[in-house]
């Protein structure tokens, strides 16, 4: 982030190293949460009436309502599309398998299944890899970063949303071991960012509304509302959504915002519920508040059994994360070309189908068909007539349905035997681990739930075989399975607990769920961080954690800051400005001690001034805050602005545009102090001054994020170009 490109080219070839987790990428910038209180801003505030501010407040509510509504609609579309596509796929494969079971040639069914899977996934991977790489993965790491204050390029664009939604439909329908919850959260965030701006830059359409909100500050508030709406639509958990936003973006929070976010969440889950119940021909039933629906659990808890699982679960989660970490590093280093990525995704899909088929083929576990046809696509295969292959319930199904059939098979029916469960868990564990991080848009929540649930259930069932005296517990094995659900992978304790409690609709499980989560987190943290944190690290994002590294008090602002700082005079020659801007890739330039001005502001200034200067100086229109807002968020690069020789000689007065009162710290401030200030205020730049109030340096997000506590004490990360 420092004007060092020039230096490097002077020094000679820059050093190259393979990608690793201890890098900070140059492409990420910080969001500007702090208002620039320049003269334009003050002027606008003076002009605005009391009524105007009331209107703003109301429009904030309207926007939150809209965000919730649209997010709910998108969730609804995803659900319906996945259900139908997967339905068609499974129908075709089922017909084929039935045909070939009789006449022979089941390997052809296997190939058909693999090809269908690959075709769906190819579609999903192609749009992600070639059109919008930002839509890959679950999207939760990206949103986490955004709420942390990092501007991830292209993450909240309309195009990303479209690719994300289509991608997740394809990958779930393609039978990958993924869920559709993470993408929902990302979608919600994009919707929020789009709606709150009242325009779409991609579609080149400006509705001329909500112009006041075209700032990082406002946008980020709405994005947190969108993320909450996404969570609430995905899990049917409005409070959990609010808490998710709170947990991720906790440093900038106020009560009104919380209330608005809660509103958005509620609207979102209601919209989804409403439209889904219309789709299911049960209007007014309102029985599917989230994309994932666990149904209702009977209330009857014996806590000792519930608590039997968390520790191994945490271990399993840790193993998952470690494996995925190595895989992701390999992918970043070697599988970086789009066509390779598409191929990889297709291979994973084909192998998933193959493994599932082999499992089903060699399974001897047959169960009688239920009276109510609860199995969606029962496969008979080699089972006796009137029975179905119980392995097929787990594999020949979308993951979500698989979860539901696990939790909700009628009590008293011994629906899975321990061997089936263990095998399923094992394969699914590796499949899910392999799948996460592919260039498809997909979430990891459902798979983790499945792994945990199956593992616990497997153990439970085997226990039960030993002591028949416990046979009373038979009635509700699903419940115990649920509690074992592996949260070792993700590790967001508070919001996840609430999401779980809400998704099951049963407060009684609150304590057990919480304890299980807590234990799993502690055990997991002992070995490795959460999956999302790993991915954030691997993407070289300058992510600011809650606190500065513990042993960093001896570091002072002087060592942390970037220096020297580019300075302009209060009234500067246009030529100088253009030269400085062209030579560096910095975003910030400093006008002595008197104020701070941003690169983006300068560019806008240049653009307009230049245009005005071409006419006459006298008729010069006064530049307004609106001009800056119109340019937001895609400021043109400096190369696109042409400045003639004449204009270079003109003088430009920066006084009214710069922020006259930037935050400053003395050189001797310790790193944790700087860190606190930075994170609590959501700063982008922090000016470091000496005793005479002269600028000596500038602290940015990357200067702070590069310190982390490693195995050998405090370590420093490298800046790299990615």
């Amino acid at each position: 982030m420092h004007p060092s490109l020039l230096q490097d080219s002077v020094r000679g070839c820059p050093k190259e190293i393979p990608h690793n987790e201890k890098l900070l990428s140059l492409k990420y910038e910080s969001l500007d949460y702090d208002n620039s209180e320049n003269q334009l801003f003050l002027e606008e505030e003076r002009r605005m009436s009391f009524l105007g501010f009331k209107c703003l407040e109301i429009s904030r509510w309207v926007i939150c309502g809209l965000i919730g509504f649209l997010t709910g609609l998108i969730a609804c579309c995803i659900d319906i599309a996945v259900e139908n596509l997967a339905g068609v796929k499974y129908y075709v494969v089922k017909q084929n398998i039935e045909k070939f079971t009789e006449v022979g040639g089941l390997s052809i069914s296997l190939i058909l299944w693999a090809v269908l899977n690959s075709a769906f996934v190819m579609l999903g991977a192609v749009i992600v890899a070639f059109f919008e790489p930002g839509a890959a993965g679950s999207g939760i790491p990206q949103i986490k970063c955004y709420l942390n204050g990092v501007k991830i390029p292209r993450v909240v664009r309309l195009k990303t949303l479209v690719v994300k939604v289509c991608g997740v439909i394809c990958s779930v329908a393609g039978g990958l071991a993924v869920g559709k919850e993470g993408p929902m959260i990302h979608s919600g965030a994009v919707v929020a960012a789009g709606v709150s701006q009242g325009r779409s830059t991609s579609l080149k359409k400006d509705f001329k509304i909500f112009e006041y909100f075209r700032r990082d500050t406002e946008k980020r508030d709405f994005v947190s509302a969108g993320a909450a709406a996404g969570v609430s639509a995905a899990f049917g958990a409005p409070v959990g959504g609010v808490l998710f936003s709170l947990e991720e973006g906790a440093s900038f929070w106020n009560q009104m915002l919380t209330w608005r976010i809660f509103f958005a969440s509620m609207i979102s889950t209601f919209t989804l519920n409403f439209f889904l119940s219309i789709y299911n021909n049960k209007p007014g039933d309102l029985s599917s508040p989230g994309l994932i629906n666990f149904g209702r659990f009977e209330s009857d808890v014996s806590v000792c059994l519930l608590l039997s699982s968390p520790k191994p679960c945490g271990l399993l989660g840790a193993l998952f994360n470690i494996l995925n970490y190595w895989l992701t590093i390999f992918r970043i280093r070697y599988v970086h070309r789009p066509c390779l990525q598409v191929m990889e995704a297709m291979l994973v899909a084909a192998v998933t189908a193959t493994v599932s088929f082999a499992m089903i083929y060699f399974s001897n576990d047959c169960q009688p068909l239920g009276p109510d046809q609860s199995e969606d696509y029962p496969l008979q295969l080699f089972c006796a007539d009137g029975e179905y292959n119980s392995m097929a319930t787990a594999f020949f199904n979308t993951p979500e349905r698989s979860v539901r059939s696990l939790f909700h098979n009628p009590p008293g029916r011994l629906f899975y035997n321990p061997l089936t469960l263990s095998l399923f868990t094992l394969t699914y564990f590796f499949l899910a681990c392999w799948t996460y991080g592919l260039t498809v848009s997909a979430g990891v929540f459902i798979p983790s739930l499945l792994i945990g649930a199956h593992r616990t259930l497997a153990r439970l069932v085997s226990i039960m075989f030993v002591c028949r005296s416990l046979s009373q517990v038979w009635a509700v094995p699903g419940k115990y399975a649920f509690n074992g659900s592996c949260r070792g992978i993700v590790r967001m304790t508070l919001s996840l607990t609430v999401i779980m409690v809400e998704a099951t609709g049963n407060v009684t499980y609150g304590l057990p769920i919480m304890l299980v989560l807590l234990t799993a987190k502690i055990v997991g943290d002992y070995f490795v961080e959460g999956l999302y944190d790993i991915h954030i690290k691997l993407q070289s994002v300058p992510f600011l954690h809650l606190e500065a590294p513990a042993t960093s008090h001896w570091l002072t602002a002087r060592e942390v800051m970037g220096a020297p700082v580019t300075c302009f005079n209060r009234i500067e020659k246009v030529g100088t400005i253009v030269d400085v801007l062209s030579n560096t890739s910095t975003n910030h330039n400093l006008g002595k001690i008197c104020g701070l001005i941003l690169r983006s502001q300068l560019i806008v200034l240049l653009k307009h001034k230049v245009r005005e200067l071409a006419r006459s100086r006298l008729t010069q229109r006064k530049l307004q805050l609106k001009d800056f807002r119109d340019a937001y968020p895609r400021f043109p690069p400096i190369q696109s602005i042409h400045v003639s020789q004449d204009e270079r000689e003109c003088m430009m007065d920066l006084t009214e545009f710069m922020n006259p009162t930037p935050y400053t710290v003395p050189q001797e401030t310790s790193l944790p102090r700087v860190f606190k200030l930075f994170r609590a205020l959501g700063l982008r730049h922090l000016v470091v001054v000496d005793s005479e109030n002269r600028v000596v340096g500038l602290v940015t997000r990357k200067d702070l994020a590069r310190y982390h506590l490693g195995k050998h004490g405090l370590e420093e990360m490298q800046l790299a170009q990615t």
């Binding site: 060092s4 230096q7 050093k15 393979p18 070697y334 493994v355 009137g386 220096a563 050998h712």
Partner: protein
Amino acid sequence: MSFGRCFLKLPYFTNMFIVQVGALLIALTYYTNAQTSVVAVNTTIPGSEQSASGLRQLAVAVVPQSSVFHPSLRSQFSLNLLSAFPEDLEVSNYCVELLAIFGQRYSTYVNCLVSAARPVKVCQNCYGTYGNLMEIYKNISDQMGPGNVSCRDSLLRSDRLMLVFLLYSNLEDIWTASECNRCVSLRHYSLTNDTLYFMETLNQSLSCFEKYQKQGNHSELCTECKATYRGLNELYSRMEKNHTLCIDIEDSMNMTRILWSKDFNCSFPRAETVPVIAVSSFMLFLPIIFYLSSFLHSEQKKRKLIHPKRAKSNPSFINIQDKFS
């Protein structure tokens, strides 16, 4: 509805109450006479000396006295009680007759059900008796008897238990659960054509089974009876789609399937293990090739390091850069 009824009938109840109380008094006098000595003995035990066992004895002694409806007593007095009701409270003869018929048909139907429980033939064997039962119940609940007597109120709703209704509704539930309506048209007292056709097909299969089973060769059975069995299966699934299955058909089909698959072992054998394994391992092999080739041929992505402008660099850091160089 029932609440309203109760309210209207209040005078009756008070009447009845008086009568009952009278009867009780009589009963009490009899009883106390018989038991007086015991009670006297027990009550004369001094309070200070009362141990737990003494209390229990006392309770034992007192309880029968207070419980008027002791079984032994009821059998003695109930007939007297009934005959003591005034005319208008009594159930009319017509209704009593209906009740008797109901009881008869009820027991016939239940007997039929029990005998048809395994293998399930509750629809085909008992639809006649169920029809009769339904008829008599309809008479009780809907029709007016001679002299505009309705037995509905007197038989079905005059007490909390509503025994007749309860009995009938239990059987009705069984009928609904067994989905017999789908196989039987009660209007014509006959099985539906679909059902008859299914039975016929089933019999064909079973006779085929029987024929080859005698020869003791199951493989021959599997080939010879396959056609009829499959026809039966198809018919069954067609009926399933049309919702014309009742428990009889389901059960007989189940039994046939078990015969076919488990006893005769005619389900499909797992014959193509080799090709499936071959294709699977080929598929599993693909990613290995993919990753190996991309490891070997794809150039590794390098990151250009950038040296930030710093006031002074601190040598005490462990530089990651050094590790990789």
